[in-house]
């Protein structure tokens, strides 16, 4: 009912506006499939770590307190499985699109979130290749805006190392272009 009231298309600069592609109809690039392997590897490491901690705790102190130790293991198992499912969903939902004036990043676990970063607002970019990422030839791409460390950092994980470098070069040159001229004071 609200859509009918809006009539948003009638406002002002209609011809120019239609040059902007609708973010719902954009062609999004999903993140690299090999990133899932990296997630699994990290997940396996986490499982080992958690199991190790619990085994140590059981041997040191918990022995006397917990009678039914299988209960603990079952809870842990359920949590880890649920976490894995969430990881999978989150992986499948991550995709991005690069437009002439902005970067659109789709993500979310329980939600569909679309974040749009105008290139003009990017302060700097960073490519991170951690120890594990280098095994899979992957990199994470960070874009920093002035909106603070939490809200202002947009991270696209799981790009091919080469792609991330290419994106970095592209964005840096873009930021430069925009600074050179067309800002209106």
């Amino acid at each position: 009912m609200i859509t009918e009231q809006t009539g948003f298309q009638n406002i002002g600069i209609d011809i120019l506006q239609s040059q902007i592609e609708d973010i719902e109809e954009l062609k999004y690039t999903p993140i690299e499939a090999s990133y899932w392997k990296l997630i699994l590897l990290r997940y396996a490491l986490l499982c080992c770590f958690v199991a190790g901690v619990i085994i140590i705790l059981e041997n040191i102190s918990l022995k006397n307190y917990i009678e039914n130790r299988y209960f603990l293991w079952i809870i842990l198992f359920v949590f880890l499985i649920a976490y894995l499912i969430l990881l999978r969903v989150s992986f499948l939902k991550k995709s991005y699109a690069i437009r002439t004036h902005d970067i659109v990043y789709k993500h979310g676990v329980l939600s569909n979130s679309i974040t749009i970063v105008p290139i003009d607002r990017i302060q700097h970019v960073k490519v991170t290749e951690s120890f594990l990422m280098r095994f899979f030839n992957l990199a994470a791409f960070d874009m920093f805006t002035a909106a603070g460390i939490q809200n202002g950092t947009i991270r696209i994980p799981g790009l091919k190392s080469k792609d991330a470098q290419r994106l970095r070069v592209f964005l840096i040159s873009k930021i430069k272009d925009q600074n050179d001229g067309d800002t209106i004071e």
Binding site: I2, T3, T6, F8, Q9, I11, G12, I13, L16, Q17, I20, D22, I23, E24, I60, S61, H101, D102, G108, L110, S111, N112, S113, I114, T115, I116, V117, P118, D120, R121, I122, Q123, H124, V125, K126, V127, T128, E129, S130, F131, R134, F144, T145, A146, A147, G148, I149, N151, G152, T153, I154, I172, I175, K176, Q178, N179, D182, T183, I184, E185
Partner: protein, 513 residues
């Protein structure tokens, strides 16, 4: 360690254009820094582990193992510091006007940024660096709070040279640095000395009476906890003694307790606000608005219109009666120590007018469109209130089995919360203007958030999977001073709003600061 710097000075090539390293002595600084931060992080864990281990092992064995571990740790930390030094390379790319830095041992990081994005350069020396004749150089870009570039071990000559080079490059590029602004402002200030506006003690008193007493209570949360402990212990004793009277005493004592808390909150609030905002005054000097306030600590601040990111105007029903209103201004600060939120408490109409003209809030075009939330808003909020009430009931019932009283108050609560939410719903909407967006919200405390769309950094549109059927969602605008969000709105409309404002932002770019 001075060789590289002298080499550079003699050459005709511009400094730092080739890949440069820190001073060799930097290994020591890195080592000390690593050990220091790790110890600070890990003290509790290591003590815990030590206690766990010491029971199973005999003392001599434990100590020798620990010593061995410590030795190994220092060896590894030293090795790590060496590689930190070895892998850190920086240079200036004069063609692209970029600063490149590459660092990291296991975790390789490549940072490149435009030199004109640099906001600030700090040179610092701690005692260790002073002994070693080194100096650290931090570069702030506007992007993050964390210092992205933190060269900890440059020789003093090197550090100064690097700073000068960067400053030189930046001043060539941009005239719009903070330094230039300051100079022009001081010049302007000498010319005109405008009227000083003040907020009187009476207004502050009104403001503190009408503002949320919980804020006053927050001042004394810790002593209050103690008080509550004391009270509840004596209560439970009394209840045991009183036996049959227990029910009545429970209800009455809860009421008395709440009333006392409320009264205490109001009193504390008055003290807090008068101490903080006593003698609040502001005046316009050139481009800036200078503020000062405070009874014990005098605070002075300056507001620059270009730095202001979000403005929120608040007025609750009591304040409406007195026709006073509060302005909350969020501005961009790269120093975390400074307040980014500035409050103008209890302004009369004349002062409101002044601030409005300063903030350029008066020149609105015709509103383009008003967006109201979906009816889901009401359902969600009523449900939330009832859920909280049920949980509270459950807790109270546990202590006090006067079921009738609880049921009656629950029955009363439902219409109250429906009335409350209905009014909240009425007041919750956004109005779109050509380059401003105003969000209205609140029932008792009415709030008007004003966002200039050129201050937007990023936009997020979010839709949970259970909202898909109703096709509603949430939009969040992120600025450098805070966020503004609107929930339970029609999804398609949100997409359109995003499209329109993004278009304006990208087709006719303006600076956000």
């Amino acid at each position: 360690m001075e060789i590289p710097s002298s080499k550079l000075e003699n050459n005709t090539i511009p400094p730092f254009s080739t890949e440069t390293k820190e001073s060799e002595l930097g290994v020591i600084v890195h080592f000390a820094n690593n050990v220091y931060t790790q110890i600070r992080l890990g003290v509790s864990i290591s003590i815990f582990a030590f206690l766990g281990l010491s029971k199973t092992l005999n003392s001599f064995y434990t100590i020798s193992v620990l010593l061995l571990l410590a030795f190994l740790y220092f060896l590894l930390a030293g090795l790590f510091a060496y590689y930190q030094y070895k892998n850190l390379i920086f240079k200036i790319d004069y063609d692209q006007k970029e600063f490149h830095i590459r660092k990291g041992v296991f975790h390789k990081i490549d940072i490149v940024f435009k030199i004109d994005r640099i906001q600030q350069i700090n040179i610092k020396r701690n005692w260790l660096q002073r002994i070693l004749g080194l100096s650290s150089l931090e570069i702030d870009t506007a992007g993050t709070n964390v210092k992205e570039v933190d060269l900890r071990a440059l020789s003093v000559v090197h550090a100064n040279k690097l700073m000068q080079t960067l400053m030189h490059l930046k001043s060539n590029l941009f005239v719009d640095t903070a330094y230039d602004n300051e100079i022009s402002n001081t010049e302007a200030a000498t010319e005109e000395q405008s009227k000083i506006w003040k907020v009187g003690l009476g207004n502050l008193f009104k403001y503190s009476l009408s503002s949320n007493p919980i804020k006053g209570l927050a001042l004394v949360i810790i002593p209050l906890n103690y008080l509550y402990d004391y009270f509840s212990r004596s209560f439970s004793q009394k209840i045991e003694e009183a036996g049959n009277y227990a029910d009545d005493l429970g209800v009455i004592s809860i009421i008395i307790f709440v009333a006392t808390l409320f009264f205490l909150g109001v009193v504390l609030n008055i003290i807090r606000i008068i101490v903080r905002y006593f003698g609040f005054s502001f005046s316009k000097k050139g481009e800036e608005l200078k503020l000062s306030h405070g009874l014990i600590n005098l605070r002075t601040m300056s507001l620059r219109p270009s730095r202001i990111q979000l403005v929120s105007i608040q007025q609750n029903m009591l304040q409406k009666l007195w026709s006073i209103c509060n302005y909350q201004i969020k501005q961009f600060e790269h120093h975390k120590q400074k307040d980014s939120v500035i409050l103008f408490p209890a302004l009369n109409i004349a002062e409101q007018d002044q601030v409005d003209t300063f903030l350029n809030l008066k020149e609105h075009d015709e509103p383009l469109f008003t967006l109201k939330p979906h009816i889901r808003y009401v359902i969600y909020h009523v449900f939330l209130r009832i859920l909280i009430a049920i949980i509270l009931m459950g807790i109270l019932w546990y202590y006090n089995d006067n079921l009738l009283f609880l049921l009656i108050s629950f029955m009363l609560w439902i219409p109250v919360s429906i009335f409350w939410v209905r009014n909240l719903y009425k007041q919750y909407y956004i109005v779109l203007f050509k380059d401003t967006l105003i969000k209205h919200s609140g029932f008792w405390n009415k709030k008007k958030d004003i966002l200039n769309i050129y201050k937007i950094q990023t936009i997020t549109i979010k839709q949970y999977f259970w909202q898909k059927k109703r096709n509603i969602g949430k939009i969040v605008f992120y600025t450098a001073g805070g966020t503004l969000s609107f929930r339970f709105a029609d999804y398609k409309t949100l997409i359109n709003i995003q499209k329109r404002y993004l278009f304006q932002l990208e087709a006719f770019p303006k600076k956000w600061m």
